[in-house]
């Protein structure tokens, strides 16, 4: 079985080379049979990758510890599901998984476009096969998941999967993130194909609209799930730390978001054609860069895989992508340039343009901050880091500007907006914004950024509600529908527009959740049973500490009675666990704080059992009161719902 897996990857590598070769010859000679064969070999690469993945998964499930990877990431006691998810727990397995998802996409692209886009497809297939080739080189020669174990005696049991990774959210966070990451390779392939073939009309943009939205959605969901997992499992009470690897996933999301907006201009107005090329290429470069950052160890991150020899190969691949793209864009610059010009600052186009400028600037700031230790070491010789305060200082004002544009942009008309329509569209939302601003001021909020965010959120919500209201009113008048039916109709008649609005509403909610962060309270105490402490109007009593031995860990369970205004409010049971507590080697035992959270719309009470002194029975406890954090998750759901609505195929288009 082991041999099969490695052999499958070998043959796939050969097929990738063959596919690229066939397409190149087809493009020179024009013999259509070559193209058809190339299509089949392209499908063949993916098929072999599927088989190789199945071989690795079945070995993981069967606990075949003669494979190094299986022995490193699973053990006999690893639950079934997590034997499966071990596929992406380590370096080589996750590379194969990347390749697997890429192959799923490649298969869909080839099959879906068998009879379409004849000028583009040879190039699209070649580009996808080249990306596959790169990852095949990796898994064949640098990090082969089928490597046999380097041990003389047979291994009885593997090392097991990190207990932190044994969590449902964590099981789905990487695949969803990968779906997004890898998904951008499809629009990238179409962009390069358009450049190669010089078919620069709106066709390539239309062909990738849904792919782009899908990749963008998956990446966004992956990021949110990662934050959610960190919040539920990691026990520091936050969801975003501006860690290099988090930033690596945020950067392509930012440029991707810019792209999702700016392709609308190209579709409707045939403008920004050079810019769109630059954006999608940048996004894909950032995807590869992110994959590289996670695996090269050039910046110290808590997420990173061990340092490995993958780094240089990734850099060469990055350079290749950038060189080819830049060359092609320069070559086609004349044809790409748009005839049309911007007409007014107060227009939809200009709104989109500024949205793009801010998104890309924000991405640049994140990039700079993430790589600053590397840059400063190269330039000044000393390693200097900039932490979360830097990122917040930059991202918060830019985020607020973006939020404002979310409200303004959709209400501006194409080309030029008249003063009359400005007044008509904006007067009510502006009043709503001012009222929310005043109310929050009266409630005692005095810091500038939260006040602005709340006020602007009110304004944006106002614009969104107005948009829905207008759409519904027109239908009610015209077709005599009831308002609810009209509501459903306007969405289904114009999915991308209203789906987009729902996404915007989700973003507003997330910003409200971010604002809540400014009002969080927390404290840490050393407590004995019976002790009572106070935080944010709650009084917290440690009523009991119990001990319990469970199948693969030992647990201390603290019972906390939470009271508010003298009345019983809720109980929380945070735990301190020691995983693998029976292991004779103390270094193999793994402490873990299992947090307990009381959630509500207004605030979460987040409890962390820090440590216990088994002699004196004193425990350390941290309680955080996290305001409005649930809005972030609800906003995430709206983002998902809105994008799915926008993605949903209408009867006419394919």
């Amino acid at each position: 079985m082991v041999v099969y897996g490695a052999t499958l990857l070998n043959i796939a590598l050969g097929l990738a080379v063959l596919t690229i070769g066939l397409m190149v010859v087809y493009l020179r000679k024009g013999d259509y049979r070559l193209f058809l064969t190339g299509q089949r070999t392209a499908l063949g690469i993916s098929f072999l990758v599927f088989l190789a993945t199945i071989v690795l998964v079945s070995n993981l499930l069967k606990s075949n510890f003669s494979i190094d990877y299986v022995a490193k990431y699973t053990s006999l006691e690893t639950p079934f599901v997590y034997k499966l998810t071990a596929l992406w727990a380590g370096q080589s397995g996750s590379l194969l998984f990347w390749l697997f998802i890429l192959s799923v996409y490649a298969t869909i692209v080839v099959l879906q476009n068998r009879f379409r886009y004849h000028q583009l497809m040879p190039y699209v297939i070649s580009v996808m096969a080249t990306i596959q080739l790169f990852f095949l080189l990796m898994v064949n020669f640098v990090a082969n998941p089928f490597n046999p174990i380097d041990a003389v005696v047979p291994v009885i049991d593997g090392m097991g999967l990190n207990p932190l990774l044994q969590n449902p959210t964590m099981a789905i966070h990487p695949p969803i993130l990968y779906l997004g990451y890898v998904g951008f390779s499809v629009p990238f392939a179409f962009a390069l194909a358009a450049l190669f073939s010089n078919r620069l009309d709106a066709m390539w943009v239309r062909s990738i609209r849904r792919w782009t939205l899908f990749a963008w959605l998956a990446l966004g969901c992956g990021i949110i799930l990662g934050g959610w997992w960190a919040y539920l499992e990691l026990g520091w009470g936050g969801y975003w730390a501006w860690d290099p690897v988090e930033n690596a996933s945020l950067m392509p999301w930012l440029t991707g978001t810019a792209f999702v907006h700016s392709i609308i201009i190209q579709e409707k107005k045939n403008m920004l054609r050079v810019w769109n090329m630059v954006l999608i290429i940048t996004t894909f470069v950032l995807v590869i860069f992110g994959t590289f950052l996670t695996r090269s160890g050039i910046v110290s991150s808590v997420h990173s895989f061990t340092e490995s020899s993958l780094g240089p190969m990734f850099l060469w691949f990055l350079l290749l992508i950038i060189a080819v793209s830049v060359f092609l864009i320069i070559l086609r610059l004349k044809d790409l340039r748009s005839e049309k010009k911007m007409e007014s600052f107060i227009s939809r186009e200009s709104g989109f343009l500024f949205n793009n400028v801010i998104f890309v600037s924000l991405c640049f700031a994140v990039f700079w901050g993430t790589l600053f230790p590397v840059i400063s070491e190269a330039v000044r010789g000393t390693k200097v880091t900039v932490g979360a305060p830097f990122f917040n200082q930059i991202a918060v004002p830019m985020g607020i500007i973006l939020l404002l544009l979310t409200g303004i942009g959709p209400l501006l008309a194409w080309r030029h907006t008249s003063r009359k329509s400005l007044v008509r569209n904006f007067s009510i939302p502006v009043v709503v914004g001012l009222i929310t601003f005043l109310i929050s001021f009266l409630f005692g909020i005095r810091s500038l950024y939260p006040l602005m965010t709340i006020g602007i959120s009110g304004f944006v919500t106002g614009t969104l509600v107005m948009e829905f209201y207008r759409g519904i009113r027109v239908r009610v008048k015209k077709f005599d529908e009831n308002p609810f039916a009209a509501f459903i109709r306007i969405i289904s008649k114009n999915r991308s527009r209203y789906g987009g609005y729902i996404v915007h509403l989700g973003i507003v909610l997330m910003f409200i959740g971010f604002v809540g962060k400014a009002f969080d309270e927390d404290n840490e105490w050393a407590l004995k049973v019976g002790d009572q402490v106070e935080l944010a109007g709650y009084s917290i009593t440690l009523t009991n500490v119990e001990e319990e031995e469970r199948p693969n860990h030992y647990a201390w369970i603290a019972s906390l009675k939470i009271e508010k205004n003298g009345e019983h409010f809720t109980d929380l049971y945070p735990e301190k666990r020691i995983y693998f507590h029976n292991n004779p080697d103390p270094n193999r035992r793994q402490p873990h704080s299992e947090v307990d959270i009381y959630s509500s719309f207004k605030e979460d009470i987040y409890s962390i059992f820090g440590s216990i002194d088994t002699e004196t029975d004193v425990i350390s406890l941290k309680i955080m009161v996290n305001r409005l954090i649930m809005m972030v998750w609800i906003g995430g759901y709206l983002l998902l719902i809105g994008t799915v609505i926008a993605l949903w195929p209408s009867k006419l288009s394919v």
Binding site: Q91, F305, S361, V386, P397, W525, A526
Partner: protein, 137 residues
């Protein structure tokens, strides 16, 4: 019109670059080695640093009655440095692990307010266990 747009966009971009540069200036934190601290002879108090190293075997002392008071020593090759930390320690924090500490010198001792651990040996995928310094929006 396109010229006007170019001017405005260039202005926005310059503003961002300026803002980022200022942000770096204000928030930069030297990532020093323990050896490099000697260069600051006598001027350490009140200076903020980010330091890396491994927790010296057997150096972790936790107060019996107040587990929030922790002292330990980090080592980097031959150099060592005692560290005080007054918060809940991350789960991965134990003898021998690689840690990154942030904090400042108070009367000559390093008072860390942020302790991050890396687990290098056991798992390939390292997992964050940090007590983050509160960063308010």
């Amino acid at each position: 019109m396109n010229k006007k747009f170019t001017v405005v966009i260039v202005a926005v971009v310059l503003l961002v670059v300026f803002w980022v540069a200022m942000g770096v200036e204000r928030n930069e934190l030297p990532y020093a080695t323990i050896g490099e601290l000697e260069n600051y002879q006598g001027k350490l108090d009140g200076k903020r640093f980010r330091l890396g190293g491994n927790v010296q075997e057997g150096s972790i002392v936790r107060d019996k009655t107040n587990p929030l008071l922790v002292e330990f020593i980090i080592e980097q090759g031959e150099e060592t440095l005692p560290v005080n930390y007054h918060k809940i320690t991350p789960d991965m924090f134990k003898d021998g692990v690689e840690v990154i500490v942030e904090g400042e010198f108070v009367n000559g001792t390093f008072q860390a307010d942020n302790l991050m651990t890396k687990c290098a040996s056991r798992y390939e995928g390292d997992i964050r266990q940090t007590q983050m310094t509160e960063t308010k929006l």
